[in-house]
């Protein structure tokens, strides 16, 4: 059933929509963001500057944006999906030419007010595009090879551009989000089996290509993989991040060392403590209870999204909601795996908590879309 087919009479209109927002979800998102403010306050040594205050402003901006997006009917967003995808793709290409060089990789465009990371924007655009695609595609066609190749191209085009930056973490996230969208849409199992087999093959090739003229990844990416497999090989170099991160987490214990009392973060042993490694600060200072609580909050956000998706009657809304949820899940799953030493250090922020504008904005826009679908669902 497409949204055109159900009676829009029952859908709320005007400012009355505000009462039909998923307020539980909004509350959860805000709570997590507040935890983020607190942790940024702590890692700055008990100061709002330089991170916490900026993060609060961004969240406020994002929050307004989320509500605005939520109030716009979902069918409008469906109609601009393709355009959003194309804009995202163009921005990614633009990064190649006008992107500022930061952290050794070209990842953002400086718009003056905000440094925009097109790869972040692409995550939502891709979800929108795939949701629109499967909404448009008759269900019977979805496993036909031709109709499988098209979304694969939609996924791989931005992935290629992101890899060129090079940003392995985002590339992996994009591929995974895209793949899971296809999986949710109901593409036949056999394709995934084949891709997984091919992926295993690719990993072998990537590993084998190391040191040859056609080496597929940058040296630093190989080193990160090495140190992930055995951090002790390089305890002061690349392995330093993982080792120090595990020490911080582990020394937290059940209840943590106390807010602003974490020696690992307060004495700067933690790398990137305000961005990718902020979870370690939280786990060190608030302990297992704090870490598990955050995990629970994240789980609840996913749960509310999935429940909202199950209540949808059209494919676009379902897939979009699930896609945003999957995207969100991947953020914190990869980030936590990374800081706990379960995954290599790939540079994925902890959603809503890590310091950073693009990710925060994009996540809130994503939740705005989920809200829009929720508000405009059939009744």
């Amino acid at each position: 059933m497409s949204y055109l087919e159900y009676s829009v009479k029952h859908v709320p209109s005007g400012l009355g929509k505000i009462f039909h927002l998923n307020w539980a979800l909004i509350l959860l998102v805000t709570t997590v963001a507040c935890i983020g403010f607190l942790m940024l306050y702590s890692v700055a040594g008990g100061s709002l500057d330089p991170w916490s205050s900026a993060q609060i402003k961004r969240f406020a901006l994002g929050f307004v944006l989320m509500i605005v997006v939520a109030l716009v009917p979902i069918w409008y967003w469906r109609s601009v999906s393709v355009a959003a995808y194309l804009v995202g793709l163009s921005l990614l290409m633009a990064v190649e030419y006008v992107g500022a060089v930061g952290m050794g990789a070209q990842r953002w465009i400086d718009l003056g007010v905000i440094r925009l990371q097109p790869s972040e924007l692409m995550k939502i655009a891709l979800v929108m595009a795939l949701a629109a695609y499967y909404d448009w595609l008759p269900a019977a066609q979805k496993s036909r090879p031709l109709w499988v190749i098209l979304p694969v191209i939609l996924i791989l085009a931005p992935v290629y551009l992101v890899l060129a930056q090079p940003d392995l973490g985002t590339a992996i996230l994009l591929v995974t989000v895209g793949g899971l969208m296809m999986f949710l849409a109901g593409v036949h199992w056999a394709y995934f089996g084949a891709v997984i087999a091919a992926g295993a093959g690719l990993v072998t090739v990537v590993v084998q290509s190391r040191g040859t003229p056609w080496q597929l990844l940058a040296d630093y990416q190989y080193r990160r993989i090495d140190t992930f497999i055995d951090p002790s090989t390089d305890p002061l170099g690349a392995g330093y991040h993982i080792t120090q991160s595990k020490i911080a987490l582990g020394s937290g214990g059940w209840t943590g060392r106390g807010f602003m009392q974490g020696t690992q973060s307060q004495l700067n042993f933690l790398p990137e403590k305000h961005t990718d490694f902020i979870f370690t600060t939280l786990a060190e200072e608030l302990g297992f209870l704090g870490g598990a609580s955050l995990l629970a909050l994240y789980s609840l956000i996913i749960l509310f999204c999935v429940l909202s998706a199950l209540a949808q009657r059209d494919r676009f809304s379902s897939l979009l909601t699930l896609g945003v949820a999957v995207n969100f899940f991947l953020y914190f799953a990869v980030n936590m795996s990374m800081v706990m030493g379960l995954a290599p250090v790939v540079g994925v922020p902890l959603p809503l908590v890590s310091y950073g504008g693009s990710a925060m904005l994009v996540l809130l826009i994503g939740f705005g879309l989920v809200q829009s679908a929720h508000v405009h669902r059939p009744r």
Partner: protein, 647 residues
């Protein structure tokens, strides 16, 4: 576009189905994350807590204060003074060059030091480096006032060694310097302290020999530091043990006088307390300022010290070994007396030379002394008498007597390079030269030439032993942290008192008999009369060619070929308190070059200050007054210079 409702419902069920599958997988993964978190935070918490503490808690050593050194009256010889330096933390500074540029406007920076700091910073930006060492208090305050404009710049206070008596104790005490790589190689199990950058250890002299007492033990403090290595706070501290304070047996006023009196010569003098063996003074000239070495001596200063032909660096009083010349004659005489080869009434005829196995050995007095008895042999230093004695006694017994009197023996003193000297034996010559001992060697040894070698310290000990009849041994350290050390009074030597009395009487005559070789350098003050012996030792023989050219006087020879002048004495001669030995390198005759110095030192020591002119023979008083006035003037100039230096 309308679609069959069935198609829609079917595809929707599929989406929901898959959403649940995916949700299940997500729940599974969340569970995995939770378990992992539990594993790290609960099961391994203790281990990681330990690692976190290891990260942040560092143990720092607290360098102990080095033991101070005083003289017998408590005046300071070596002390620790605060030394200020400016450190630069590259990480904190950020733009290092800008900070250094700003710093150089406030204080003068040494370009070498800056270059070294840059080099050290390249190696590691974590540790602060020294950007200016030994800055003044004023400069330090200027940096402190400007601190806000100088990120990463930190003033530090440490202790540094200072030798307030400058040149006077350079040879005895030596100096300290920063630990070098060579020092570390030499020491098998180095103290952790030595690894502290620029930690000072004794390099030469007493500072080096008694490093064990002076260094002390390091304290520790546990500090919390951040990842950049900066100390955030101190957790606890355990104080170390400061080095032990050493009191020396020396008298600084006498030591200063000795140095001043020897000035201008390449000379050495030792003053011993005959009762305890205490070294009252031990001077070697020229000297140097040990403070230069503590600061790090400049290449040009060091080169000028090395190239000085008077060799300022070695301590000639204990390291320099010389043929003792006629000062050795007491040894030969005692050996002959103890062996029964001569009696006080025996005489030997001196025609001016002695023929031994076809070789002619001259007496210093060409025309000969005629009949010479024991008393006269010493008083007038007749060589032929002693040639005869050597022939009668033999080298082995002479050497044995020399060793009993402390010659040819290495005395255990905490100074650098205390020489053993040399008292030859037949076996020694065979072993080292591969030649047999010939009778001529014994004859040469009899007048302290040939292979016989002794340091001024040896000669002073010998004199003290003759004066007391006991085996007096030298002592430099009087007390350690207030605990008195064993004095070197020594046991009775077991020599026949009558023999000793004869020798002492002869030595008294040397200085007090009108015909004595040192009569001109006598003391007229009755209670301070001295008993001595002159010595003039040849560096080489005057060749026949030179004699033909008319070179027979020392003054005609270049400095380095002139004879060494020696004098030994004890005083007062009736109740000995001190023994003195003076060697003036290439000074000429012992009676003219060494004896006056020895007399002045003796009087200074016995009076405990400038002696009255009445102690000197009336004809010499004018000259002595001039000398005393010059020394006093120089002393005041030195004092002023040192006072200026201190400020």
């Amino acid at each position: 576009m309308r679609r069959p409702a069935r198609d829609n419902a079917e595809s929707h069920r599929q989406i929901n189905r898959r959403a649940l599958i995916l949700g299940g997988a997500q729940v599974g993964f969340l569970g995995l994350l939770g378990l992992r978190m539990r594993h790290l935070q609960v099961e391994q918490a203790d281990q990681f807590r330990l690692l976190a503490d290891e990260n942040r808690i560092k143990i720092r050593l607290i360098p102990p204060a080095r033991g101070q050194i005083y003289d017998r009256h408590g005046s300071v010889i070596a002390e620790n003074v605060p030394s200020y330096r400016i450190m630069l933390d590259g990480e904190e500074a950020g733009d290092v060059d800008a900070v250094i540029a700003r710093l150089s406007k406030i204080i003068t920076l040494d370009p070498d030091e800056v270059a070294r700091a840059h080099e050290e910073m390249r190696r590691s930006r974590i540790h602060p480096v020294t950007i200016a060492d030994r800055v003044t208090w004023e400069e330090l305050s200027r940096v402190a006032v400007n601190a806000p404009a100088l990120p990463g710049v930190r003033p530090e206070v440490g202790l540094s060694r200072r030798y307030p008596q400058h040149e006077d104790y350079a040879h005895i005490v030596g100096y300290v310097g920063p630990v070098s790589d060579r020092d570390l190689e030499r020491i098998k199990a180095p103290d952790q302290l030595l690894l502290i950058p620029r930690f000072q250890i004794g390099k030469v002299g007493l500072e080096q020999r008694r490093e064990d007492l002076l260094r002390g033990k390091a304290g520790t403090r546990r500090v919390e530091q951040n990842a950049a290595g900066r100390v955030m706070r101190e957790l606890d501290r355990r104080e170390g043990e400061p080095g032990k304070n050493l009191q020396l047996t020396t008298d600084s006023d006498l030591q200063e006088y000795v140095k001043a009196r020897l000035k201008g010569e390449s000379a050495a003098a030792v003053v011993l307390d005959t009762e305890t063996g205490d070294i009252l003074a031990c001077g070697s000239t020229p000297s140097f300022d040990p403070n230069l070495f503590v600061r790090g001596i400049s290449v040009s200063d060091y080169k000028s010290l090395l190239e000085n032909k008077y060799r300022p660096l070695p301590n000639k009083a204990v390291q320099g070994i010389y043929p003792p010349g006629s000062t050795f004659k007491m040894v030969v005489l005692l050996a002959a007396l103890e062996d029964g080869q001569v009696t006080p009434s025996d005489t030997v005829y001196c025609p001016g030379h002695l023929e031994v196995s076809g070789r002619r050995f001259h007496c210093w007095k060409r025309v000969g002394h005629g009949n010479v008895d024991l008393q006269r042999s010493i008083r007038e230093s007749c060589d032929v008498f002693f040639y005869e004695m050597a022939l009668r006694v033999g080298i082995e017994k002479i050497t044995a007597m020399a060793q009993r009197l402390g010659l040819g023996v290495e005395h255990d003193l905490p100074m650098t390079g205390v020489a053993q000297g040399l008292m030859p034996t037949k076996d020694w010559k065979r072993a080292t030269r591969g030649e047999d001992w010939v009778i001529g060697d014994s004859v040469n040894s009899a007048i302290g030439q040939g292979y016989v070698l002794a340091s001024p310290l040896h000669l002073a000990i010998m004199t003290a032993r003759i004066a007391t009849g006991r085996s007096v041994s030298p002592r430099l350290i009087k007390s350690v942290d207030g605990v008195e050390t064993e004095p070197g009074t020594g046991e009775d030597l077991g020599l026949n008192p009558n023999h000793l009395r004869e020798v002492r009487r002869a030595m008294h005559a040397v200085s007090n008999n009108r015909r004595g070789t040192a009569y001109r350098s006598r003391i007229v003050e009755e209670s301070y009369r001295m008993a001595g012996k002159t010595g003039t030792s040849q560096v080489r023989n005057i060749t026949a060619a030179e004699r033909a050219r008319g070179v027979s006087r020392n003054e005609d020879l270049p400095w380095e070929r002139r004879d060494h002048a020696l004098f030994v004495n004890y005083a007062p001669s009736d109740a000995p308190r001190i023994a003195v030995a003076v060697v003036v390198e290439h000074g000429g005759g012992g009676s003219t070059a060494a004896a006056p110095i020895a007399r002045d030192i003796t009087l200074q020591a016995l009076h405990g200050g400038t002696p009255p002119l009445e102690a000197y023979p009336s004809s010499q008083r004018g000259r002595i007054r001039t000398l005393q006035e010059r020394l006093e003037r120089e002393r005041r100039e030195r004092e002023d210079a040192n006072a200026g230096d201190r400020a």
